[in-house]
Symmetry: C2
Subunit: 191 residues, 2 copies
């Protein structure tokens, strides 16, 4: 870490100064802001400690993890669990398959669908990787202690559940009137 990086405390003080006048929900802002800071910091650490020696990207690992936990699954379900779009999963699973970690097989009853599962080699990798990964999870969470970890997990779970249950409706309400132009990027209709 080379430069004089601003600490998280300094950042929060600067926010206070900047927002001196405005009336805002400071608690929610602190919580949500720190979720992202923590997620980025933890992801960076895990990528550069556990994953890099195996040349695995974060998302690649998440996909392997999903298949390890849930076993063989259809692609749409894997994308959902991994939190990525189905288009992204196409690329990821292509990469993982080329490395021999994942097997793609046809659905027996519907030729549109594809089933993903771990290869024996992928299974073996996860058995080695997961304990190391968990070791680093414990390292980053060390200052918290078991009880605080569980309370943290519980609070975060409440946020995820809220969005699972009410997020889509909320977005509909917010954007109802507004005419959403189609995304600027993405495939173009043929002329």
């Amino acid at each position: 870490m080379p430069g004089p990086r601003r600490s998280i405390t300094e950042t929060e003080q600067a926010i206070q100064r900047r927002l001196g006048g405005l009336t805002l929900q400071r608690e929610a802002m602190a919580a949500v802001g720190n979720i992202h800071r923590a997620a980025a910091a933890v992801r960076q650490h895990l990528e550069n400690s556990v994953l890099r020696p195996h040349e695995l990207t974060w998302t690649g690992f998440v996909v392997l993890w999903v298949l390890w936990i849930w076993g063989e699954a259809e692609t749409w379900s894997v994308a959902e669990e991994a939190g990525i779009s189905k288009g992204t999963l196409t690329g990821i699973s292509r990469t993982l398959e080329s490395r021999g970690l994942v097997v793609r097989s046809a659905h027996p009853e519907d030729r549109r669908r594809v089933l993903l599962s771990l290869s024996p080699q992928g299974e073996k990798l996860m058995e080695e990787l997961f304990p190391a990964f968990n070791e680093e999870e414990a390292f980053v969470a060390a200052p918290l202690g078991p009880e605080e970890c569980l309370r943290l997990a519980e609070s975060l779970r409440a946020i995820v559940s809220r969005l699972e249950e009410h997020g889509e409706q909320r977005r509909r309400e917010l954007l109802d009137g507004e005419n959403l132009a189609p995304r600027r990027s993405g495939r173009r209709p043929r002329p």
Copy 2:
């Protein structure tokens, strides 16, 4: 939300089954796993509610936010605060500059450096965008209540601080012996 998505509770039960045999730090795993689930869910919600009508990406917004809070800053510092690499920032600031939201100016004493700041237009956008953004932060954090928000923020801050203080050393220890091949992707040395 089309398909029968697995809930976060179902996921945690599946993890329990899969890891029945192994000895693991379950509390840390639950905490860290939920940090990422929550971060992804919240980011998705904010992108698709507040940011999309303005055609802003998440990272673009974060960069604007950093400049808004801190004022004019050098690029390396902005990249650090935004949690992205300096190479990525080059692209982002190019995009934001082309939209007239950000101004790039030369450092008065060092012609290698570049200073970034918000344009008046960018300033105006943030004054409009930030309250809306904060409103959605409050929406996602609604089930928690102010005290729980602050406790959540505090726990996350402890994790970020731990990595700020001990992360690099930890990675050095873990990877010391291992010979890290240079990243597969990235620019190649010319022949």
